[in-house]
């Protein structure tokens, strides 16, 4: 069975970065993968989305409506934008910090069965680098049920694309994200 992932956020959130990491992890694990990226006006404040399709039965890199297994987003609104891509039983992970719109959270809660709202800033507060947010996100999502890629392969793929001096803190952020699953959020 194929596994479809949607990643969304705003320019600078690391959507494209994480889509590359997950796609190379899939290649390293020896499964078929394709990835669609839409980042037209990323640098100019626009929304950014990536579709990843893992498995040999998918053709277009763009995920058809109602077939995504997992959506994770760095921003509440950017997550809510893509709900029509989700299967009924899909998992949704949304980063939320204090500034987020509570009406949107209520909306998400009412329309999604498997919703996790996490505060990445809180998770990585012991690391003095906000850019490690997406490593924590990756650490969190690999622990989800049915996530098809191995944790170690994902971590290797993540560390491989980072410059040497950044590997240590991102490894730490990844582990914090991974352990966050066990705590109740």
């Amino acid at each position: 069975m194929d596994y479809n992932i949607i990643i969304s956020g705003l320019g600078g959130d690391g959507v494209i970065f994480l889509s590359k990491v997950i796609t190379s992890a899939a290649l390293n694990q020896g499964v078929e993968v394709k990835c669609y990226q839409n980042h037209g006006h990323a640098k100019r404040g626009g929304s950014v989305v990536a579709h990843i399709r893992i498995g040999k039965n998918s053709f277009s890199p763009m995920i058809p409506f109602a077939t995504a297994d997992l959506l994770f987003s760095f921003e509440i609104n950017e997550g809510a934008r893509y709900l029509h891509f989700l299967k009924d039983e899909a998992m949704v992970v949304v980063h939320h910090d204090r500034g987020a719109d509570s009406a949107q959270i209520a909306h998400l809660k009412s329309s999604i069965n498997n919703l996790s709202i996490i505060d990445l800033t809180d998770i990585i507060k012991s690391i003095d680098d906000p850019n490690t947010r997406n490593s924590a996100m990756l650490g969190f999502i690999i622990t989800l049920d049915r996530f098809p890629l191995k944790s170690s392969i994902c971590k290797d793929a993540l560390l491989m694309v980072l410059p040497k001096e950044k590997r240590g803190i991102n490894d730490a952020a990844f582990e914090l994200g991974r352990r966050a699953k066990r705590q109740k959020i």
């Binding site: 705003l10 796609t23 394709k34 669609y36 990226q37 100019r44 277009s60 409506f65 109602a66 709900l83």
Partner: protein, 608 residues
Amino acid sequence: MNLGRKILTGNEAIAHGALEAGIGVATSYPGTPVSEVLKNICVYSKCVGVRAEWSVNEKMALEVAAGASYAGVRALCSMKHLGLNTALDSLSVIAYTGVNGGLVLIIGDDPEPTSSQTAVDTRYHAILSKVPCLEPANGQEAKDFVLEAFELSEKFKVPVIIRITPMIAHSIFIVKLGKKLKPFRNPKFIKDPDRYVCMPHNTKMLHDQLNQKEEKISVFFAASKFNKLELDNAKFSILASGFSYNYVKDALNILGLKANVLKLLTTNPIPEQTINKLISVSENILVVEELEPIAEGFLSVVAQKRGFKGKILGKLTKHIPRVGELNAQIVAGAICSINGKKNPFSKIKIPKMPRTVPSLCAGCPHRSSYYVLHKVLRKLKGYNAIGDRGCYNVGAHPPLRAIDACLCMGASIGIGYGLVAAGVKEKTVAVIGDSTFFHSGITALINAVQHGINMTVLILDNDYTSMTGHQPNPGTGFDACGRKVNIINIEKLVKSLGVKYYRRADPYSLKAAEKAVKGAIEFKGLSVVHMKRECALVSQKKINPQDKDIKYIVKGCRLCMHCINTFACPALYVENGTVKISQWKCIKCGVCAQVCPFDAIKRMNKAW
């Protein structure tokens, strides 16, 4: 396990394919979605053995590539669909003369469109120029087709178009790579005036030869492995053209339906024998293709010739919309309506979310130029500001609404001239970027100077072709490979044309810039203001270490909203009854401090 298998975007795969084909010359003018083809040719080759360049415009790019091909060297030329409009004059003649070394054009169509002013279908250009067109359906094919296209180009002595869409160009695929080939280097132009001197006396003969080539290529395509008829023991068939094949397969998988599928990847000329095979196994045929119903029309003609009893369905029968990019949902909807099935997608609601409007970046010099221009223009009884293609047309969005029209590359001066020629009384200003000015604005300016037109031209010069990723242009000073090259001096150029009013201004110094613009607007005749300041996305990476401590803060804001409504830098926002500056977004250009009528924005040293 993954030996030679890499994850690559379609553009990267094409660049690799070009090096595997041993190209000696690569040319391009930047344009979404294919800007990264030339960039990656430079990255993969390290600019060794390949002469890669960002040409001044698409016509030039194609002519340089064609010249290389005449000399027996393989050449690749990439541009977006609208660029091919510019280069079409040359392409139609190159098709007549034929090529020597393989000549392949990578053309990026934009069916949605997401970043273009029109959704032109490049296959029409291929038909018009009688040039073969291939359409890969995935990243592997994108790479392989480049090699095939060079073989095809040399076998039949014609230029070959590879048509791709953003879905291939920007998506990532697993691609199996081959070995890069050493470029063939023994350039020689063998004179053959009957062929290369394209004049009426030999054009008729060349036209006839081209028609014969077209027929031969059609037969070659029918026997080639490009197209594949997948029989599924069904009566219903689908002709899937190029990338649309993926939507067809996804839709059939989701619906659990059977259909024979013809994967058609040679979209000009469409091989009649292949179409005949499809007709012979089908009752009804749905045609799925991006943009225009070209294959559908061709299929209808062949079907009529063969006395086909079934229906041909597609865009002409309104089963598939003619506007916008296709997707699996659209194709599934068409399949369902034809086969009397319930469409599983009909109930899905797309969430209504506010559209994120792109804006000029924080610290963008174009914003300052627009601020100054409109400050001067607002004092007049009326005015028209005609924009052009580039970052600066993002200024058309509210609240700036800085330009009233925007057509195509280099058109601002011509359109502005037209308004004046028609007798429009209000002041006319044409706004054009540096890369656009070099691309085709110069000729327009010459035309305006020659005819003594009374208008103002604002050249927004930020040193790069910024919108598409900071490619160098003739004013930048380095080439595609980062090597130092000559700089074309806009000031000397403009003055040499006989422009009487030329002022150069720094958009970050509002007062001086305003003076220059005011003088230009009041000048009787053609005036040019050259606004020069490096793109903020580049300059913010080079902030002086001692300036790192500087920050701009708001103190004593009276909430007049002047900065928010007329300047609208994304770093400015309102919170708790005061305007604030996002230190994360601010690049410390200091222009907002000049904009504030109450001097409430102050430059501070962090140490304070």
